[in-house]
Amino acid sequence: MVGEMLLQGLKYMGIGVGVVFSVLAVFFVVIKILVRIWPPREDTKQ
């Protein structure tokens, strides 16, 4: 019973860590694209 839960837990851990990294990697790409479209500039108001 515990062994079964442990295996399932390990599976969820693998999926969980993988998905969190993957989703944040997608966000990384999104930010890179956004910054390429609108690159940071010196503040023109100054």
Binding site: V2, M5, G16, S22, V23, L34, W38, R41
Partner: protein
Amino acid sequence: MEALLKGFANFSWQQAVMIVIGLALIILAIKKEYEPMLLLPIGFGCLLTNLPLAAVLANSLGETGFLKVLFNAGIVTELFPLLIFIAIGAMIDFSPLLKQPVMLFFGAAAQFGIFAAMMLAICANAVFPGIFSLREAAAIGIIGAADGPTTIFVGNLFAKDYLGALSVAAYSYMALVPIIQPPVIRALTTKKERRIVMESDFGKPIPKPVLVAFPIIITIVVGFIAPDGVPLVGALMFGNLIRECGVLKRLSESAQNELANLVTLLLGITIGSTMTASTFLRWDTLMILVIGFLAFVFDTAGGVLFAKFINLFLKKKINPMIGAAGISAFPMSARIVHKMAQKENPSNFLLMPAIGANVSGQIGSIIAGAVLISLLV
């Protein structure tokens, strides 16, 4: 006469213990200033709910008490944590992250504690058979999100009986981050590593279109990749959009102040009302508090070790302490990393990259919560 004494007749030693715990939380909030905005209402809610007959939950006529009404309206429906997320979104400036998007990966690595704590809770079944189900283990793991609203959101779905313990653990350990994190960071890094200076160009401001597009695009992306996370991410990003759009200053200020204050007040006292003796004074509660503490340790270790791993491939090294800022405890964690770096090398300013990792942790913890919900609902 009997009616006048019914309070004494309906009082047990367990309730007395819970009242002492409630008072301890109030004292910690006032004297030590540990997350006072939450621990004080939680402590008082605990006090109210453990008084004889608990009229705040249901009066002697059987009518629903005001804290039960608040619980049904704000916690069962998940409304309070989501409203808090709107307020948090309105308070967060994503600029440090947008300037250094690589920090996102530290926000991911520092969620390791969630899953490690989940595994620990599962392992507890080997010693105490049947103590936690898989869903309850996931709810305990989410303490490692270092994020109160996410803990409450997931805890309410998977472990309603433990909601009080989960929330108290999450908020208490968030307050104790300055005590928990430094020894773990020191144990896993060398003095030389802690002295690594990180340079970054923070002079150029992020253009407004990026700040506005970011919350919208992230919400849409989450909608497709992790649909169960949309309420959490959507609320956070809605708050942030209000902040960044530039035309809703009043709403942004209301979200940051009135909304945040009002919901925090109601959330705290309502969570406190779940701390009844029958649900709190148990060995499993004590175990939750211990595993919750370890979740924070694993979070910190996960972030630091990930940074050290990344450094193996980089020519320009990253200060591995930045990894510890990847937890969601905002902005305490970033401040701790900055202070530790300054102590090692007074000319090293890690605050901005650490803040970037810290806001990434906010996003990462929500995604981790969403993943657990997707897998276990």
